[in-house]
């Protein structure tokens, strides 16, 4: 049996445990199972998975459900000043937080995710979903308090946990969402977040992926932007056994504006793969992305950034920058920025660099008595500091500097 066949069998086995459950999510799970049966798992020949192998999933993560109850207390979670909500191994807490202007509800068959399950991983996510969460920000609500969701995926043996969050921002609203992943053990987190940003609404989005090194993470983030909406997304992550983030943003109506700032570190033997696609489907939208990556030891960092300008999307301004530091000749960085443009009235560009720390700068620091380790850390922080400084939330910026600094 090939790897892809065996993964499919394991995923279907994992889904079986949920088949008998009769609750509001049944029809969603059935759809997920259908997708799993019909869509093949990617292999090395699949263009979008060229640099990421699924071999690490062969220990059976997909077949088993993560069950260990979290011992994580809210005291361990850094306080970013928002209302906290902990989702443990895919299970929602008994009570949901209260924020003015925000309505929480559990996902049910009445309001299943609007999008279909288009990949085997989103199929798997749907088929093994315990709970799902709906977040609805009311029209015109300017929500001051941030929502800080902590996803904890924990297990002692290879297993998986699925989470799914749908966020809807109605017109003219403003909202801050902090998605924070913190798990331990050989647990695979299968995470799907789908966000709809209504006309003239503003979303500030943080995605902090700080699970421990032995975890696995496969996620899909889908953002739909309507007229004149603004999205600022800050994504900070360290590599683990297998980290794969698929991000897709649709500019559906004119005037939408997107900013993404991201840092990814792949040290030791970790792996991180970001696959980002911006669909400019409407005129006069702007997108601006900066991704900075560092790979050291036997780490592997992959970046694939696609900008797709649809035929009618005139007046588009889309920019993408991917800068990388490679610290060892056993490490690897693969970068693939792509432009697909079907309109002439656009301003589009991308730039990629891969290099090393400047030996003159290192020498300068060494000559002033800074030891080699410390000097490298300083230069490493200097490399990503530009992005950390751009974080609007100071508590997160401070936390991120320490947390990322540990791995430099």
């Amino acid at each position: 049996m090939t790897l892809t066949e065996s993964l499919k069998a394991q995923a279907l086995e994992g889904a079986t445990a949920y088949q008998q459950r009769n609750d509001t999510l049944s029809s969603l799970r059935d759809a997920g199972r259908d997708a799993l049966e019909n869509l093949p798992f990617p292999d090395k020949k699949s263009e979008r998975w060229k640099y990421t192998s699924l071999i690490k999933l062969q220990d059976g993560h997909l077949a088993k459900q993560a069950h260990k109850t979290s011992e994580l207390s809210t005291a361990d979670v850094p306080d970013f000043g928002g209302a906290q909500l902990v989702i443990t191994n895919g299970a929602l807490p008994a009570t949901l937080p209260k924020i003015d202007g925000v309505i929480f509800s559990t996902l049910s068959a009445d309001n299943p995710s609007a999008a279909k399950e288009l990949t085997p991983f989103s199929g798997f996510n749907a088929a093994t979903l315990q709970d799902g969460l709906n977040i609805h920000v009311a029209k015109g609500a300017q929500v001051k308090q941030a929502l800080h969701i902590i996803y904890v995926g924990e297990s002692d043996t290879p297993a998986s946990a699925a989470t799914r969050v749908n966020v809807t921002l109605d017109e003219n609203s403003a909202f801050t969402l902090i998605e924070h992943y913190a798990g331990t053990g050989p647990a695979l987190t299968s995470a799907i977040t789908r966000i709809h940003v209504g006309g003239n609404a503003e979303l500030t989005h943080y995605r902090l992926q700080s699970e421990s090194a032995e975890t696995l993470h496969i996620s899909e983030l889908d953002i739909q932007q309507q007229r004149d909406s603004r999205v600022r997304s800050y994504q900070l992550m360290k590599g683990n056994v297998l980290r794969r983030n698929d991000v897709r943003v649709w500019m559906n109506e004119p005037g939408a504006d997107l900013v993404i700032r991201a840092v990814f570190l792949a040290r030791d033997s970790s792996h991180v793969d970001n696959n980002v696609c911006i669909e400019h489907a409407s005129p006069h939208c702007t997108s601006d992305q900066i991704f900075k990556g560092i790979a050291g030891e036997t780490g592997k960092a992959v970046f694939n950034g696609r900008i797709h300008i649809h035929p009618g999307a005139k007046g588009t301004d889309a920019q993408l920058s991917n800068k990388n530091l490679l610290l060892a000749n056993t490490a690897e960085i693969d970068s693939k920025p792509e432009l697909e443009i079907y309109n002439d009235d656009v301003k589009c560009g991308h730039g990629t660099t891969i290099g090393q720390m400047d030996s003159e700068q290192l020498f300068y620091l060494r000559s002033r008595g800074v030891d080699a380790e410390q000097a490298k850390r300083m230069l490493g922080i200097g490399f990503i500091n530009e992005l950390i400084l751009s974080l609007p939330n100071e508590a997160i910026a401070e936390w991120a500097r320490d947390w990322l600094g540990e791995s430099l």
Binding site: L326, A328, D334, I341, Y342, D344, G349, G351, G355
Partner: protein
Amino acid sequence: MSNQAELDKLVRSEYSAGFTTSVESDTLAPGLSEDVIRFISNKKNEPQWMLDWRLQAYEKWQTMTSPSWAHIHHPPIDFNEVSYYSAPRSMADKPKSLDEIDPELLRTYEKLGIPLHEQEMLAGVAVDAVFDSVSVATTFRGKLKEAGVIFCSISEAVHEYPELIKKYIGSVVPQGDNYYAALNSAVFSDGSFVYIPKGVRCPMELSTYFRINEAKTGQFERTLIIADEGSHVSYLEGCTAPMRDENQLHAAVVELVAMPGANIKYSTVQNWYPGDENGKGGIYNFVTKRGVCHDNAKISWTQVETGSAITWKYPSVILRGDNSIGEFYSVALTRNMQQADTGTKMIHLGKNTKSTIISKGISAGRSQNAYRGLVRISPRAENARNFTQCDSLLLGDQCGAHTFPYIESRNPTATLEHEATTSKVSDDQLFLCRQRGIETEKAVSMIVNGFCKEVFKELPMEFAVEAGKLLEVSLEGSVG
């Protein structure tokens, strides 16, 4: 081979005993089989080892499937509808004079300023023997011989220099490298062979155009250029004038070997029939071009691609030796319904290797123009350096310009830069030109020429002038 593949092969093979060869016939009936390959080899009077090599390639080809990753769309090609051998037309079949040639073609020649007798040659008019015997080609041949340069057709080389061919053919592009390279290896019709001896600087630009038996290389062209230690050669392929050509599928292979300290410059102008404005007809051009650089060697590819309905072409350099250099300069222009998926691969294996990629894509009409490139730094390529710049220019709102770069680094001392931009001819620039009395079409062509300047300056002088004119002609009717 797996059982299934063997079975497939058996099913596909034809009834061999029923195969009859008419010695008189010049063109082989369409279809591909082992017998066809034997026939081609036999026609060329090839030694057994060459035939074995072809058959090996054919066996590999049968197990392969045509690639589908490129950003091009075309109906599946039926390889059994292609005729794999046609001898050069006899004088009797050729058009007698320019009066019999498509006037559209002649107009283009005139615009490009091509002398009359050259027009005849390009259009395939039966050139009379007198002209031929005093042709420039013959004079050049003598001069080359003096320098010790071997420049002949590959069929000739198989007979005269078998040890060189045996050693180098397939050494850069192996038989099973890709689908079209395998097909070419099995059925290649002819092509050029060049050998530059140690330390020799080739006294002139070599061009396919000067080779005396260049009557018709056919659709499966194979070129092999070997530059021995410290030698230097510049090779021109193609011609700025459109070639009259009735073959729809072209699958060529070009192999370059640059021994230590050698320098090869390979320039191409491709201007085959691109099909009409509705995408009817036109050449499908699937080319594999690759060079190997040993220590301190340099290979430079320059291409101007304006023709063909489909261009699928990635001239590559394997930087095997330390301090070797690879360069790629490209202008690709597509219009009407043309599709181009072209770019390069730079594989850095040696220390201190350098590569430069400059790619300019221009799309007009309803065409699709894609750059696809790979830069790979291996773990032992210390201090490797790459600079890539891909610019696209869009003329019109129905065309597409795409960039698919693959950048892979495994050495921390390497420095890689990649940059891509997309723009259109700005109204401000046009306004400035119009204001000074330059008509729109002329203005656009000036701007496009400026956009391509970086690449044109890499072309040999006379070629650069012609390439500029060629763009002008190609852009006609694309504006306004």
